[in-house]
């Protein structure tokens, strides 16, 4: 099953070569997430309105390899913005993907930019 997770690699802002125009800002709930499809990737995108910041990560929960992270609740853990997996509440940093309450592998995170009320996710290929 690791074959799936191998598709998801963290992209740093300086590595972005493609800005994918995902969906309008209004498609995402405030202080919540939704899922974006890009080629064969599923990307969870979060509108962290309280921080006035957007985050993106793989939709795949590394715990049981299910496509569910976009449906998780967001918030912060000791100041670190995070998402909690809806299956068993494992939490991951939205900044660097680190698993905050267990020892699971980190998840991949992606840069986001907003232009003209549209959400763009950054990929490197």
């Amino acid at each position: 099953m690791n074959i799936i997770s191998d598709k998801y690699k963290t992209v740093k802002p300086e590595e972005v070569t493609v800005w994918f125009k995902a969906a309008p800002v209004t498609a995402f709930p405030k202080d919540g997430g939704a899922c974006v499809k890009y080629k064969d990737l599923q990307i969870a995108v979060f509108n962290f309105e309280r921080l006035n910041t957007w985050y993106a990560c793989q939709n795949l929960s590394p715990e049981k390899q299910e496509m569910v992270l976009s449906r998780g609740m967001i918030g912060d853990h000791k100041g670190i913005p995070m998402v909690a997996c809806p299956l068993h509440k494992k939490t991951f940093s939205l900044e660097n993907g680190e698993n905050l309450n267990s020892d699971l592998d980190p998840i991949a995170v992606y840069p986001i930019k907003i232009e003209d009320d549209f959400v763009y996710v950054g990929f490197s290929e």
Binding site: G32, D40, V45, Q65, R71, G72, G75, A84
Partner: protein, 838 residues
């Protein structure tokens, strides 16, 4: 530099190395370890897990690199064949010689194969090493290919034999356990506990044969086909695993002239020294006190003694060795400690037995009733840690020792304050963490709360069984340091649920952010506080989960239950369990249309599984069109009111349980509470609705209903308590309204009514005073609040599908109509299920 040679790289040999390198003085020694198996030491205790994953690496005590990193020469796949004590050298089977200053024998034991005629036949195995297991697996595959119903027997019903029984069962063979003694685990259990264990194992599918002496192994062409016990007593089997005990591997010591016992084993003193002072023996090779200790814990202690002795410390092996064990055998808890059996002249035994639940508990108490001497637990060993601690530390026991083992609801109590334990008491046996370490990390200021304690000490990260003890210790230590133990919902609020309830009610807040901005401590919320506030808003304002869906818990957010593969299950309400044939047909047709797996749930509703996010609204629409509504099976809210047939049809029925159950279910549907709530209504004392296992339960009796409150069928089952007798329908509703509202106002997040009621100061009497006598003068307010919620009920599914804005959340992708392509289903009994988790 002096050289130590360790012969044997099993669990005890490894433990010697581990304890040795942990000592500063060890740097003055060179350590060489020989193992005859092809791999480094592995956890033989959990050998049967090898069948589940066939991953030898997972059983490793430490990887090969560990030895290198610690400067140890590990030589595997090479047997030591000779010791020259005069010249202090050893020779290996590969004819290599090495000199030593100290020699540590940790050669362990081998499986004992009794001299039964025919035991040399093909298909007879021992259960000892990974190689043995691999041989069994290959043979099992071969015989199964010939005969899918192939049988395997295990000779020996001891601890290891039962593990082997599970192993052959996992291989898909019909498992038989053959034991010579009249009971299972003869060393650990008495005959009554053996009977309880036998019933449990048989219910899982193991065939148990006791008091069987095997005369010979039958077979054709050198292959095993059966076992013969008596002339006409034969068991056909295709494979046999011998697990009839162990024999110490003492040939090396014996050949070099070390003193050995009559029945084998190298004699050692309390320094673990053999008759040659430069040679130590530890583990199952060592004969100490005329005994071979076949448990890993004494072996580890012996390793520690040998390390200390070689490094010049005066550690000695204690005269009495604790043989207590607790294990999960084939999913069944089995534990014994101290003296499990005892002559009547020595003390009294207290026995609690429940064969239908496969439960047996026995404790042995001294004649004066003051000390605990030992005991046996089968089926539920959750009391083991505390009992073992009481035994080890000679702690005072209650005047009525029965309280130590009786279930809480039946006269037993939570005995023993964790703070009374000595510092060296082991709390977490998986990670080897003592009470002293847990309290110490708080006292030193390193840990400030439970989460810190867990991350500092690793306590509770193994099986998790000690978590409640760790929590109690943490809170008690914090309190003793004068630190207030906060009962707050999470790091984002310095308030508990009750405070938040009052604040939201008085201030009239409508959104999570309002509450957080005005009363939070600067953070942004999390998966703990968001659902709490969402639930409170619902309890106070009768908001449905649609209103602010991003703060709802996983299930409420999508108004369905998220299941194993991220799909959802849908449960329409079937009030009281009464359903028309047309509605039944509609459920079946809808399930068929969307290819859903259907099952009648434990709460007697029909559950439709396997719906993808985007199918949910379509399914709800079809259900609503056929007269269904949301069953709230996803919420912390009323799930079901289970009813029996009642006087509607039943020839014994005293009252109309169905009608009243429907009325109650419709009254409390959709109401959000700290946890889920269930009800039950039985039409007579035969109690077919199991109402006393519910949060509120009714049983019809002559002259009205008996009302029971605070039952729970969850992780800690508890019968509801009788609250009022022979009351009419109107009074029932009045009391339940008051009860539920009081619970919703004052319980902690995710606290069930049972736990809430148990911890309520004043207990059931206090509840009666408040609810029946209206001691606080709030009864009417509680009723009014409940009535407001009842009046405001709205079906969340209907609400969602009628509002395009709310519907936005039900697409898997926001930029595509496609579904999740990661989903895999496999067939199961003419339906489907998610692929197994890796």
């Amino acid at each position: 530099m002096k050289t130590i040679i360790v012969v044997g790289n099993g669990m005890v040999g490894y433990k010697f190395c581990e304890k040795f390198v942990a000592k500063e003085e060890s740097k003055q020694f060179k350590l060489i370890v020989f193992g005859e198996e092809p791999r480094p030491a592995y956890d033989r205790v959990h050998l049967s897990e090898f069948f589940e994953n066939q991953d030898a690496k997972a059983l490793e005590m430490a990887p090969a690199e560990w030895y290198t990193e610690n400067g140890i020469d590990l030589i595997v796949d090479e047997r030591v064949s000779d010791i020259d004590r005069t010249n202090k050298t050893i020779t290996t089977a590969k004819d290599r010689a090495f000199s030593y200053d100290y020699l540590v024998l940790a050669t362990g034991s081998s499986a004992f194969v009794p001299p039964i005629k025919g035991v040399e036949k093909e298909g007879v195995f021992v259960y000892r090493t990974i190689e043995d297991l691999e041989g069994m697996l290959a043979y099992a595959a071969k015989i199964k290919a010939k005969n899918p119903n192939a049988k395997a027997a295990v000779l020996g019903g001891g601890l290891l034999g039962l593990e082997a029984g599970k192993a052959v069962m996992d291989m898909g063979l019909e498992p038989h356990i053959v034991e010579f003694a009249p009971k299972l685990m003869p060393r650990q259990l008495d005959s009554r506990s053996s009977q309880v264990l036998q019933l449990k194992l048989e219910s899982i599918g193991l065939n148990i044969h006791l008091s069987k002496a095997t005369n010979q192994i039958l077979g054709d062409d050198g292959y095993i086909t059966g076992m013969e016990f008596g002339e006409d007593d034969v068991l056909d089997v295709d494979m046999l695993v011998v697990s009839a005990g162990i024999r110490p591997r003492d040939e090396l010591g014996k050949n070099s002239g070390l003193e050995v016992g009559v029945r084998g084993g190298i004699i050692v003193d309390n320094k673990m020294q053999t008759s040659d002072s430069n040679i130590y023996a530890i583990g199952e090779i060592a004969l100490y006190n005329q005994m071979i200790y076949g448990l890993v814990a004494p072996g580890y202690d012996m390793a520690g003694v040998a390390v200390d002795q070689i490094l010049g410390e005066e550690t000695l092996m204690p005269a009495n060795i604790d043989m207590s064990t607790k294990l999960k055998l084939i999913g069944v808890d089995v534990a014994s400690f101290g003296e499990p059996f005892m002559p009547a002249s020595k003390g009294h035994s207290i026995i609690f037995e429940n064969k239908t639940q496969h439960l047996y508990k026995r404790i042995n108490v001294s004649l004066d009733g003051k000390t605990l001497l030992g005991g046996i637990l089968v089926g539920d060993a959750s009391d083991y840690s505390m009992l073992h601690q009481i035994f080890l530390n000679g702690m005072v026991i209650p005047e009525d020792p029965a309280q130590l083992i009786l279930p809480a609801g039946e006269g037993g109590g939570s005995f023993g304050d964790v703070m009374d334990l000595p510092d060296e008491a082991q709390i977490c046996s998986c990670e080897n963490v003592t009470k002293g370490q847990i309290c110490g990390t708080i006292e030193s200021g390193e840990s400030k709360d439970l989460a810190d304690v867990v991350s500092c000490t690793k306590a509770g990260t193994g099986c998790g069984g000690c978590k409640p003890m760790v929590k109690d210790l943490t809170e008690a230590t914090l309190k003793s340091l004068g630190i207030e133990v906060k009962d707050t919902v999470c790091e984002h609020f310095d308030l508990n649920r009750q405070d938040l309830y009052k604040i939201i009610q008085v201030k009239g807040y409508k959104t999570f952010n309002e509450v957080l901005d005005n009363h939070g401590n600067g953070g942004h919320g999390c998966e703990l506080c968001k659902p709490v506030v969402a639930s409170l808003m619902a309890s106070i304002n009768a908001d449905t989960a649609n209103k602010e869906y991003a703060i709802q818990d996983s299930n409420d957010r999508f108004l369905a239950n998220i299941q194993r593969n991220g799909t959802y299950s849908v449960v329409p309400r079937v009030p009281g369990g009464e359903i028309t044939p047309d509605k039944l047909i509609a459920l079946g047709e809808i399930a068929k249309k969307y290819d859903l797996y259907t099952k009648v749930t434990g709460g007697v509703r029909i559950d439709l599984f396997g719906a993808t996010l985007n199918q949910l609204p379509l399914i709800w629409k079809d259900l609503i069109d056929h007269g269904f509504e949301s069953g709230h099976a996803y919420g912390k809210s009323l799930r079901t009111v289970k009813t029996c047939v009642g006087s509607t049809w039943c020839r014994y029925g005293m009252d109309e349980s169905v009608s009243f159950g429907i009325e109650l279910e419709n009254r409390y549907r959709g109401i959000r509470a700290p946890h889920k709530i269930k009800g039950g209504v039985s039409g007579c004392i035969r109690e077919c609705a199991e109402a006393r296992g519910k949060d509120f339960g009714l049983i019809a009796v002559e002259g009205g209903w008996n009302l029971y409150l605070g039952g729970n069928g969850g992780a800690t089952p508890r019968h509801a308590e009788l609250f009022a007798e022979q009351i009419d329908n109107e009074t029932v509703i009045k009391y339940i309204d008051r009860y539920l509202m009081l619970y919703m106002r004052t319980a902690k997040p995710l606290q069930r009514t049972a736990a809430w009621q148990e911890r309520l100061e004043g207990g059931l009497n206090y509840l009666k005073e408040v609810i029946i006598d209206d001691k606080l003068g709030i009864a009417e307010d509680l009723e009014n609040e409940m009535q407001t919620l009842v009046n405001k009920f709205e079906c969340e599914w209907t609400q969602a599908i009628n509002d395009p804005e709310m519907m936005k959340r039900f697409n898997h992708f926001v930029n595509s109509e496609e579904e999740d392509d990661n989903l895999v289903f496999v067939p199961l009994r003419e339906q489907k299920m998610p692929e197994k988790w890796v």
